[in-house]
Each structure stands twice: as C-alpha cells, then as structure tokens.
C-alpha cells in the first residue's frame, strides 16, 4: 500500500507537542500544513490526542510511590511464601495419593474377607423372600470382584505391600530433602 507522507510530518508533530503550533513560531508550518493534507491530518490528530492527554492528567488518581512500593513488596513476599510452601503441599498431595493407593491395595488383598462381610450385611438387610433384582445385581458384583481378587490378590498382594513400603520410604526421603533444602 502506498502511504502518503511528507518530510515535514515529524516537524509538525514536534511543533504541536511542544505547543509551538499556534504561536508565531508555528506560522510557517501552519502555512505548509494548509497545503499539505498529510501534515494537516497529523496536526489535527496530534492536537486532539494532546487535549485528551491534558484532560486525562487533570483526572489522574494515583496512589503514592511509597504505597505502590509497599504493596509490591508485600506481593513479592507472598509469592515467595507460596513458592516456599509449594514442596510441602506437594508432599501432602503425594501422601494423600499414597494413602488412597494403600487403602486400595489393602482392599484388593483382603477382598475375600470384605466380600464376606458385605454378603453377611446383605443377608441381614434383606429379609426372607425379598430377593429383589438389585440384591441379585449386588451379589453378582460381589462374586465378580471376589473372583478377580482371588486371581489378583494371591499373586500381587506381596508386590503391593512392597510397593507401598517403597513409596512410603521415597516420600519420607523427599520430605527430608525438602526440609533440608528449606533450612
């Protein structure tokens, strides 16, 4: 695109910005702008924007430098605190995850007993002759898990215990490292 330009454009802008445009010093430039559409446009837009700046400056609402400095310090400190507590939060989350993992492993390992308790509870809850479809469904689910647990539990319960102990040791090591680094 061909951009119309004038070599005195910058000069016009400087005159308007410096307040020399309307005075005697700007007379020659004003004559030029009368014949130059580019400079006339620059002068119009610059004058309008500078008026807008003057109005803006009249309504400025700013806190003191000291307050901004203090708030920035405060925010920086909070950010530093957050960074410092991040590993602790991470350890907490890992501990929760490990606990859930352990509970799940234990449940899988001891599923036959749990299933037995569930079966007992179910027979207690359902009276004689009240074999509903939901009870049948629960029984099927229990049987499925029971067979699954018998298959898995026997083989992997030892591995689960070893994995849990390993994870606890790793977590303790990580927590010790975090404490050591913070100190």
């Amino acid at each position: 695109m061909n951009i119309p330009e004038c070599h005195r454009e910058q000069e016009v802008l400087e005159a308007v910005r410096a307040g020399r445009w309307s005075g005697a010093w700007g007379e020659e430039l004003r004559k030029h702008a009368a014949a130059c559409p580019v400079c006339a446009e620059v002068a119009l837009v610059a004058a309008m924007l500078l008026e807008e700046r003057d109005l803006a400056q009249a309504e400025v609402r700013l806190p003191s430098a000291g307050l901004v400095w203090w708030k920035a310090q405060r925010a920086a400190r909070r950010a530093a605190e957050e960074r410092a507590t991040q590993p602790i939060a991470l350890v907490e989350r890992a501990a929760w995850a490990l606990t859930l993992f352990g509970v799940f492993g234990l449940a899988l390992w001891q599923w036959p007993r749990i299933a037995g308790w569930l079966g007992g509870a179910k027979s207690l809850a359902s009276g004689p002759g009240s074999a509903s479809s939901s009870a049948q469904f629960t029984e099927r689910v229990v049987q499925t898990f029971q067979s699954l647990a018998q298959g898995l539990g026997a083989q992997s319960s030892g591995y689960l215990v070893i994995a849990s102990v390993g994870a606890v040791l790793a977590l303790m090591g990580f927590a010790a490292y975090v404490v050591w680094r913070e100190e």
Binding site: K31, M48, L55, L62, K71, R74, A75
Partner: protein
Amino acid sequence: MSMWEVTLAEIESSELGAGAAEEAFHMDEQAFRVFYEKTARPLWSYLSRLAGDRALAEDLVQESYYRFLRAKLQSGDEAYQKNYLFRIGTNLARDHWRRTRPSESLPEEATSHLQSGDRTAESVQQNTDLGRALAQLKPRERELLWLAYVEGSSHKEIAEVSGLRAASIRLLLFRARRKLAEVLRSSGGGVESAELRARP
C-alpha cells in the same frame, strides 16, 4: 495471586523480611520513587484512554509497576525502562479485554465516565466528543496513536511496546491516524478546539 489482596492489618508483619522482598526487585526504593514520579501520570493517562475506565487504569498501573519491579531488565536506560513499563501495561490491558470484552471496541458505558467529573461544561462536552471519537477506534489503534502522538515514541519504540513488527508500524499508524481524522471531521462540534489548535 493479586497484589491488591492486602489489608492494613498486615502492615506490621510486612515489615518483617522486607529486605528479602526488596532483593527480588531490580531497583531500590529511592530509585523507584524517582521513576514513578516521572512515569506514573503518563502511564495512567495512556491506560485510562486505552481501557476507558479510570478505576481499571489505577489497578493496571499498580500491577504494571509490580511486574516491572519483579522483571529482570536487560538495561538500566530510562527510555528502555519506560518502554518496558508501558509494554507491561499494554499487555495487562489486552489481557483484561480478552477476559471481559470479546469484541475489540469499547462499549458505550466504557466512555460514559468521561461525562462525569468536576470540570467545566465546555471541557466535559469536549471530552465526551473526543472520548467518543477514540472509542470508535480499535484498542490497538488507540495504542499506536497515543504512543506516537502523545508519548512521541519512535516506530521502533512503539514496536517494542506493542509487540508488533517495526516494519508494520508505519502502515498501521497511518491507517489509525486516517481513521481518527475521519471520525473527528465527521463528528464536528466537540473537536472544534482541537481543530482550532491544529488548523493553519
């Protein structure tokens, strides 16, 4: 975390460890005060006209200084620092638009604040018209025009602040200027004084 979530009750506790936080900044308090006095008013004016909201401009200014203090600057040159600060402010304003205003142009209520205040009726009327003219531009056009004609920034500096390529600034600035001039000419009345100042 927002830096505005601060209560006065925290002032005392904030005194503790102040040195540690100060270490995170690239300038000391005295230098900051000098820099702030020089740049805060221009930055506020720029952001208030960019955002069309005085309260928002105040928030953006404070957040800009916070981020500026935390930044790792490559130079201690004052012009570089000022451009960097304006760039932060510009980016914050853009982020705000993206979050709150999907369309580029400012809504009518964004400029309604220009009608309030304690200035004379004449200047309010003038301000309203000028504000409306500005509101018809896209935020990026306002950025470019303000930086070029109010801050007197070079094309290279405008590119640094706006994140645009320096080579494209000339064309974009020309288009924005032409658009604003057309709006001003078509709006008449309120821009009389601007035209009087500019008219040969």
